[in-house]
């Protein structure tokens, strides 16, 4: 059972070795570089307010990307995260009358339920995750539409609970927005969970070789359901934070996060084929992409140029990663 590894070019092998083993270092360097360049063009970025604005946007993206990372690790993907986030935000806002804790809990339950359905589709019915989550996305959109129509269950006063406004939009200290606290908590759980818990191990294992897992007694469908439920909850949290920071809910608030969430996980070095990678790289991927967005805005580039550059950079970084690590997909 040998996998052909392409021969790496003979020059600067030690440098490449370091790069291959520690993509986090490369990404940190890229992040700092982008930040500096942007800051030179717009010095306000170096102020507390500037840094805060970057972090404020990076956190929800990092949460969506966290979900993608975990889905990638099992060899899947989740295109319904932004819709889940939307629904969760709506639920919290329309239920805020019953108290913030209840509203938030209900929103999280909704996120978990969406993830549960995804997990059942992927794990039990063996539907390809791309399709299942696309379908789920449609269904969730439909649910929102139905709910928002006259007489629907999402009409009525939609007030974002103050707790969320604080958590989503408030500031902890100086340049650190409150949502970093939420994100930090989630990150610690994720980083430790993936590496130090049995579930984390099985997530990697299922993405690497589901047959081996089955023969070792792992019920793959259980792991997949757990995975997508976690992704759903993360998406719900992200949605809540977004509604908190904007102070309102809207049907397409979260849409712009979908493709970047995938990009962040890819740039961070988690293979879309499963079995390798992790959240640390994704965090930096999210930071890099957020600063990149800011850079493009600062450069006054129109939306068109922004999109083109965004795509080109994602492509370049992904290519660099493949070239350095030598892990081709063919």
């Amino acid at each position: 059972m040998s996998t052909a590894v392409t021969t790496s070019l003979p020059r600067t092998r030690r440098l490449r070795g370091t790069l291959a083993d520690r993509p986090v270092l490369v990404l940190s360097a890229v992040f700092v570089l982008f930040y500096l360049v942007t800051g030179i063009l717009d010095p306000s970025l170096f102020s507390t307010g500037g840094l805060r604005s970057v972090l404020l946007l990076a956190c929800p993206l990092a949460l969506f990307a966290a979900g993608q990372t975990i889905a990638f690790l099992t060899g899947g993907i989740d295109l319904s995260v932004t819709m889940t986030a939307n629904v969760a935000a709506y639920v919290a806002a329309t239920q805020s009358g019953a108290g913030p804790l209840q509203a938030i809990t209900l929103a999280l339950v909704v996120g978990a339920a969406a993830g549960l359905l995804n997990g059942v589709g992927v794990g039990v019915f063996r539907v390809h995750p791309l399709i299942m989550t696309i379908g789920m996305s449609s269904v969730l959109l439909g649910i929102v539409s139905v709910g928002l129509a006259s007489g629907g269950f999402l009409t009525g006063p939609a007030v974002v609970p103050p707790l969320l406004t604080t958590l989503g939009g408030g500031t902890l200290v100086g340049p650190v927005p409150m949502n970093v606290v939420v994100w930090a908590g989630a990150s610690v759980v994720l980083l430790l969970g993936l590496v130090r818990t049995g579930l984390g191990r099985t997530i990697y294992a299922v993405g690497d070789n589901p047959t081996a897992c089955r023969l070792s007694g792992v019920k793959v469908w259980q792991v997949l359901i757990a995975t997508y439920v976690i992704v759903g909850i993360l998406a719900a949290v992200a949605g809540l934070l977004i509604s908190g920071s904007s102070g309102s809910v809207g049907p397409s608030q979260t849409n712009s996060f979908l493709l970047p969430s995938i990009a962040a996980a890819v740039i961070g070095g988690t293979s879309i084929l499963g079995g390798s990678g992790g959240y640390a790289g994704t965090i930096l991927g999210a930071l890099v992409l957020t600063v990149l967005n800011r850079l493009l805005l600062t450069l006054g580039a129109g939306q068109a140029v922004q999109q083109i550059v965004y795509g080109a950079i994602v492509l370049t970084l992904a290519w660099v990663y493949v070239a350095v690590s030598g892990q081709r997909t063919d």
Binding site: M1, S2, T3, A4, V5, T6, T7, S8, R196, T197, G198, L199, R201, T202, Y204, A205, D208, N209, T211, A212, C213, R214, L215, S216, G217, V218, K219, Q222, A226, G275, S276, G326
Partner: protein, 495 residues
Amino acid sequence: MSTDALLAARGVAKAYGSVVALRSADLTVGAGEAHALLGANGAGKSTFVKALTGVIRRDRGTITMAGEPVELRSPAEGYERGIAAVFQDPALIPDLTVRHNLRLTGTDPGAVRQELAGLGIEGIEIDERVADIPLPFLRMLDLARALVHRPRLLVLDEITAALPADLAEKVFTAMARQTRTGGSVLFISHRLEEVIEHCDMCTVFRDGHDVARFAPQEGREARIVQSMLGDRVEAEVAAERSRRNVADGVTPRLEVEGLSAGDLLRDVSLTVRPGEVVGLVALEGQGQDALFETLAGDRRPRAGSIRVEGRPLTARHPAAAIRRGIALVPADRTLALLPKRSIRENIALPSRARPARWGPISRRREDRSVNRAVERLSIDTRAAAQARRLSGGNQQKLTIGRWLAEGFRTLLLFDPTRGIDIGTKRQIYDLVREIADSGAAVLMYTSELREIELVCDRALVLHRGEIVAELPADAGEEALLNAAHGLHRDEVTTG
């Protein structure tokens, strides 16, 4: 048999990054010669063959055919230069029909049919989907396709592995015909008896280069093995096993009655007692795959019963069998290994399977059990970070190590030494005997008949989905093979 060289390879080398697969290999095949290429796993055989046939590019070295240099970029180019290769995995597209497959390589279906008839193979329909044709016949089809091109050099890369004896005979017939008409054969195999019987010369590889070239009839197995292993090897002695005390009154660990599953397994009954190693012998495709899958809980039986330690077992998932102490080591390592994960994760996999074990991991406890398994099996941990970097032998040991760490009471081994070098094979034989001595029940299917005598206490023979004979371990290869063919049905001796 002329002495002019048809194929001359000099100094062929290939490295994958920092891993040197082939240091510098020389090989010469004369015209009209059947030449065997032998070597342990990791010696560089398969890399050499891939470089020769154009599957990969070599780093250094020259290869000439009848004096003219050869630079192949793909196996198809080889056809034009007179080299045709048949690999263990047939180069046939599963979802396409045979006809479309032949169209892809520009091979005339009529000519292929003729070749198949010449080999005495019947039953292959040209509009049948390749996925619906069993592997042994696909190999023969691939062979026929190669023969159509009338190659000067026919390369057979381990195609007799897992091939039923009657089809293997046809391969040898084709080989003989090839050399008789002036062509040559490069024959790669782990089966030394075949090499000795059918090949004129052989070259042995070790550590990435050629170390010996001689006629296999002179020196036979001993000399071959010596060259492969590189040091004086004690003559292979059937293990002196102390008669294991397998008392008759003990409750059998595993009792199977009237088991029927899949297409091929009809009606199997057997028992395995604690402390004994029961060997299973069968030709390819007699139902042994289904038997092991069912015992391991990976497949539901159609009829019959399985009892473990006296209590019935109905498993819908391997987890149920594992809970009853049954462990399966499959032949195909791609089924059992997590290629991108570390040795530790591979070994600890079953211990994390149940949701109850999904919580935080106690590093220290895991260290202990993992290290114990690694030590006991002498697994080479240099490539510890990713299991796919391990050699075949180490990978197999890793699979066994997983169960050593997890614990088991019944061990199912499916052709555990397939494609593994001699050194590791010996280690595995010793390990299996140790395991049985410590009280486990072992059921081992092997395609290498001599392993029965080396490792097992008795042998069951499976034919057409039923157990047709039970023979003592020292019954001899001929008796076993006869029984495996379904001959001498009435010769059933109790062990």
